[in-house]
Amino acid sequence: MSEVEGRGGKVLVTVGTTLFDALVREASSQPCRQVLADFGYSSLVIQRGKGSFIPVESDGKDGGLKVTSFDFEPNLSDHIASSALVISHAGSGSIFETLRAKRPLVVVVNDLLMDNHQCELAEELAARKHLVYASSPATLIETLKNMELPSLVPYPPSNPLAVVSALNQYLGFVDT
C-alpha cells in the first residue's frame, strides 16, 4: 500500500450514517478538488450516507483528481486504512476509527444540527492536535489550505482495562 505514504494518495470523505449533503457538496466542489490536486492527492472517494446529492464523477484522465462516490459500504475501515487523508463528519465512530488507523483527519462539523454535542469531542481532540477541525463545510477549503499535517499528534491508546479493574474491585472480585 505504497499510495498511503505521504501525499499522492486517496482522500476519503465520510459522513457515516448521517445526512450531510453540505459536506459532500463542498468536498466535491471544483475549488476543493483543485486544492486537493494541488496538494498532490490523486483521488477522492466520497461516502455519501443518507444524502441525496451525488457528486459528478471523474476518471482523472483530464489530469485532475479521480472522483468516485457511494452511499454505504460495509468495509469502510478498509477505505480508511488505504487513505492518505480522511475528511469526516464529527461522529465519534468515524473519528476514533480514523485515529486508531493513524490516518490524518479533518473533521467538519455539521453546523445545521441543533444541540450538536459532538463538536465538543472534535474541538477537544483538535485542541490536543489529534485532528484538524473545521467548524462548518463553508470553512473546509480554507481549513485544508492552512492545515499542517506534520504537526498532528498521534492519538494515545485507550485504557478500557482501567475501567474494568475499577469495576472488578467495586464488585468484590479479587484476583487469586
Binding site: 450514517t17 461522529g91 465519534s92 465512530g93 476514533f96 454535542h117 459532538q118 465538543e120 469531542l121 474541538e123 477537544e124 485507550s158 485504557n159 478500557p160 482495562l161 482501567a162 475501567v163 474494568v164 479493574s165 475499577a166 469495576l167 472488578n168 474491585q169 467495586y170 464488585l171 468484590g172 472480585f173 479479587v174 484476583d175 487469586t176
Partner: protein, 238 residues
C-alpha cells in the same frame, strides 16, 4: 362498619406503605455506591449482567469495555437495544462470537462453548422518543417504554446493569432502582458517560448523577471529574 372507618383503615394502610417506601428509598440511596464486600474470584458467583447498547457511538464504546471484561465473572450477559436500532445487537453478537473463539476452555470444550453462546441473550426495548417525535405523544410512549423496561428488568433479574448513555438506559436504571426499593434484589447500576461528553454530562448522565441512581459513575475526561466530583475517572474506552 360504616364507610368512613373503612376508608380510614385503608388510608392508614396506604400511609404506612408510603412511609415504608420513603424510608426504604432513603436507605437504598444511602447504600447505593457502597462497594460489595471483596471475595476471591473463585468464591464469588458470576454476576448476571444487563448491557444497554445504543447507536451513535454508544455501542462501540460499550463493546470496547466488554472486550476486556472477564467474561466468566460477568455472565450470563444480556444485551438490550432500542427497537429501531438494527445495528447494535448484531454487532454485540459478532463480538461475543469473536471472544468465544479466543476464550480458553480447558475441559469439555464444546459443551462449555455451547453454554457460552446460549447464555448470552439479545433483546430489544421500546424507545421513549424517536428523533423528531412530538412531545405530546412522547409522554405516552415514555410511559409505555418505562413499563416495558420494568418488565424486561424483572425478566432478566440482573446483578449488574451496564450502560453508557443512550435514552433507553434511563428507564432501565430506574427499573433497577425499583427492584432495590422493593427489596427484590440488589442491582448494581454502572454508568460510563460517553467519550463524546467532554465538558458537560449528557441529560441521561446528569439525571443518573443527580438522582444518585448509579452505584458507579465513570467519566472519560478529567474536566468532567472536576465538575462532578462523585464521578470516577480512570481512563478512556476509545
Amino acid at each position: 362498619m360504616d364507610t368512613n372507618s373503612v376508608w380510614g383503615s385503608w388510608g392508614l394502610v396506604v400511609a404506612s406503605i408510603v412511609t415504608l417506601l420513603v424510608v426504604r428509598a432513603v436507605w437504598v440511596l444511602q447504600i447505593t455506591g457502597r462497594a460489595l464486600p471483596a471475595q476471591s474470584g473463585v468464591k464469588r458467583r458470576p454476576l448476571r449482567t444487563l448491557i444497554v447498547l445504543g447507536s451513535g457511538g454508544h455501542t462501540a464504546e460499550m463493546m470496547s469495555l466488554v472486550r476486556v471484561m472477564d467474561l466468566k465473572r460477568y455472565a450470563p450477559r444480556h444485551y438490550i437495544a432500542g427497537a429501531t436500532d438494527n445495528m447494535s445487537l448484531p454487532r454485540a453478537e459478532r463480538v461475543e462470537a469473536e471472544l468465544l473463539k479466543s476464550a480458553q476452555f480447558s475441559d469439555q470444550d464444546t459443551k462449555a462453548a455451547d453454554e457460552w453462546l446460549q447464555r448470552s441473550q439479545y433483546s430489544k426495548i421500546y424507545r421513549s422518543r424517536e428523533v423528531g417525535q412530538s412531545y405530546v405523544t412522547s409522554v405516552f410512549t415514555t410511559l409505555w417504554a418505562f413499563a416495558h423496561s420494568v418488565v424486561q428488568v424483572l425478566r432478566i433479574q440482573p446483578d449488574v446493569i451496564l450502560c453508557n448513555g443512550p435514552g433507553t438506559c434511563l428507564p432501565i436504571c430506574v427499573a433497577g432502582f425499583l427492584l432495590k426499593l422493593v427489596g427484590w434484589r440488589w442491582v448494581v447500576v454502572v454508568y460510563v458517560e460517553s467519550i463524546a461528553r467532554v465538558k458537560k454530562l449528557s441529560l441521561t448522565g446528569l439525571l443518573l448523577y443527580k438522582l444518585r441512581l448509579a452505584d458507579q459513575f465513570f467519566v472519560q475526561w478529567k474536566d468532567l471529574k472536576t465538575k462532578y466530583p462523585q464521578a470516577n475517572y480512570v481512563g478512556r474506552l476509545m
